[in-house]
């Protein structure tokens, strides 16, 4: 007997290697991927009862190949034997390592012809080894819907007629950017929805970290890959303090920092420092550097806002992303007072339109500036526009608390938070 958790971990680890081996041998990514899924399900059932085989990878490749063969025998009209034979000769003879296969699969699943909404589930299934049901649960959609989304994504990969190989050097940088973007989105999806009533959902942040580790192991000299992994670890370190037991969000300033995961912070910090030494700064490294500065502050009051502000300025120059400008407004306020932050918001103009985060940031800055009346209006505006239930609760409560306080504070000075 083997413990189910261990078996599950091993299966997910081996999934991309099995798929890589099959695609190398037979071609046909889409069909091979189905066969691997069947083999994984068969393994989960059989290994739990009879224990793991001596050579789990060999077992899975053998079973998946057999399933693929069954599929072709069933499917005699459309795909003929010579079709299969032709794809054999295409498969390269070089026995590449499982690491490379994982990477090639990542590039295929995050192909630029796929939207993130297609690339994400395909990556989780084909590279992450998750079942369709697990992916569906993670995104709160019916299993049949997710199955359809995955098979459409596979059809598109097939249509791109890409060989099973690493992208050529001239398109590699851009392709890598797509891979990192997909991993970043998977992480954020998990991070935003974590805990509370959603505990049963698949741990997407954990999956994103696992996949980022795999890409990082295959490409140790790519500082942006390392930067992204560091960013994930440094954010994930705060996870235990981010939500209360009832699921409500806790802002950074109010988090119990003793709950932060010190080993993740140490690992993430070391990774980002190593990456920055390669002198090819990119946006994930800068974001990770900012996260590291937050994580290293023992108290919120110790935060090095001047350095964080200069990192946001750098990030803004690199990306031109108005969301970064919004974060710069917060950092400017913390470094130089709320007036400086409000000035940055004026600079932002309407580049973010009526976005709830603009209202939320303005609300916080007005509150700091002592303008409770307008802060309440902005908190309410933000609450009315957010699409996140927990954030809505937070913003509504914030407005209410401020209204109560400003009614009571006609006599008393506002409370100051020292710890």
């Amino acid at each position: 007997m083997t413990s189910p958790g261990r078996t599950e971990g091993l299966l997910r680890e081996l999934a991309p290697q099995v798929l890589g081996a099959l695609v190398r041998r037979y071609g046909h990514f889409a069909d091979a991927e189905d066969a691997v899924q069947e083999a994984l399900l068969a393994a989960a059932a059989s290994w739990a009862a009879q224990g793991e085989p001596d050579n789990p990878l060999g077992w899975l490749i053998r079973v998946a190949s057999r399933r693929l063969g069954d599929q072709y025998r069933r499917d005699d009209a459309r795909r003929r034997r010579e079709d299969l034979a032709a794809s054999w000769s295409l498969a390269g003879p070089d026995p590449a390592s499982g690491r490379d296969d994982t990477l090639i699969l990542m590039f295929m699943c995050c192909h630029p012809s796929l939207t993130p909404a297609s690339a994400i589930p395909l990556t989780l299934r084909a590279v992450g080894g998750l079942s369709t049901r697990e992916v569906a649960t993670a995104f709160l959609v019916p299993e049949a819907t997710m199955a359809q989304r995955i098979s459409r994504a596979k059809a598109r990969v097939k249509a791109s007629e890409e060989p099973f190989a690493l992208p050529s050097s001239d398109e590699r940088a851009e392709r890598l950017r797509s891979v990192l973007h997909v991993l970043y989105l998977i992480f954020n999806e998990g991070y935003a929805s974590n805990s509370g009533p959603d505990l049963a959902r698949t741990d997407l942040s954990g999956e994103a970290i696992r996949l980022a580790r795999a890409v990082c192991a295959a490409l140790p000299q790519e500082p942006e890959v390392t930067g992204l992994l560091a960013l994930m670890l440094l954010n994930d370190a705060r996870r235990p303090a981010r939500t209360r037991v009832d699921g409500e969000l806790v802002p950074l300033s109010e988090q119990d920092r003793t709950l932060w995961d010190r080993s993740l912070i140490a690992e993430g910090t070391a990774l980002v420092e190593g990456a920055l030494q390669l002198r090819q700064v990119g946006e994930y490294q800068v974001q990770a550097a900012i996260a590291a500065l937050h994580d290293q502050s023992v108290q919120y009051a110790d935060t090095d806002w001047t350095r964080i502000l200069s990192l946001y300025e750098l990030l803004e120059k690199m990306t031109g992303n108005p969301m970064v400008t919004l974060n710069r407004a917060v950092a400017a306020a913390m470094a130089h007072g709320p007036g400086a932050g409000l000035a940055v918001l004026d600079e932002l103009g309407d580049r973010l339109g009526d976005h709830h985060r603009v209202h939320a940031v303005r609300a916080h800055l007005l509150e700091q500036a002592g303008d409770a009346g307008n802060a309440i209006i902005e908190f309410r505006a933000a609450a009315a526009r957010t699409t996140n239930l927990r954030e809505q609760h937070y913003l509504v409560t914030k407005a209410a608390r401020l209204a109560t306080e400003s009614a009571g504070n006609q006599r008393e000075p506002p409370p100051t938070r020292m710890s």
Binding site: D246, E248, D354, F379, A383, R385, T397, A399, A400
Partner: protein
């Protein structure tokens, strides 16, 4: 049998200020009430789905004849009170049970803990035809 229990913004009968004007502890009590109710319904095996919708500020109306570009209307809408605020989908053994749940939902606590007496629209979901009949 499945029932949709629908709540709109205007369906509050008690003389009730919007939630953003309640005291913080009243907001908290309201949220906890919803969470506890959902947990109870889940434990009884009745809750299928419960969702709150983003506010009327983000609502848009779309009309199309299938060929010309669709006509998309942004808010603010004069009839925003009639917009749906959220719903629960429950699977119950008797219609009476759906009404009972609706009554519980309606009596959610509001400002100063006074029940908001929200009007709940109870609608049975049409079931699929039995192919063997």
């Amino acid at each position: 049998m499945r029932f949709m229990l629908l709540q709109s913004y205007g369906g509050v009968e008690a003389d009730c200020a919007p939630m953003s004007e309640w005291a913080p502890e009243d907001i908290k009590a309201h949220i906890v009430f919803q969470q506890v109710l959902n947990r109870e319904l889940t434990e009884r095996g009745e809750l299928v789905d419960a969702q709150g919708l983003a506010g009327p500020e983000l609502a848009r109306f779309v009309v199309s004849d299938g060929s010309a570009p669709a006509v998309i209307t942004d808010g603010p809408f004069p009839e925003s009170k009639e917009l749906l605020a959220g719903y629960r989908l429950v699977d119950v053994e008797r219609a009476e049970r759906a009404l009972e749940i609706a009554a519980q939902v309606s009596a959610a606590p509001g400002a100063n803990g006074v029940p908001i007496r929200q009007r709940i629209e109870v609608r049975e979901v049409l079931s699929a035809p039995d192919p063997e009949v």
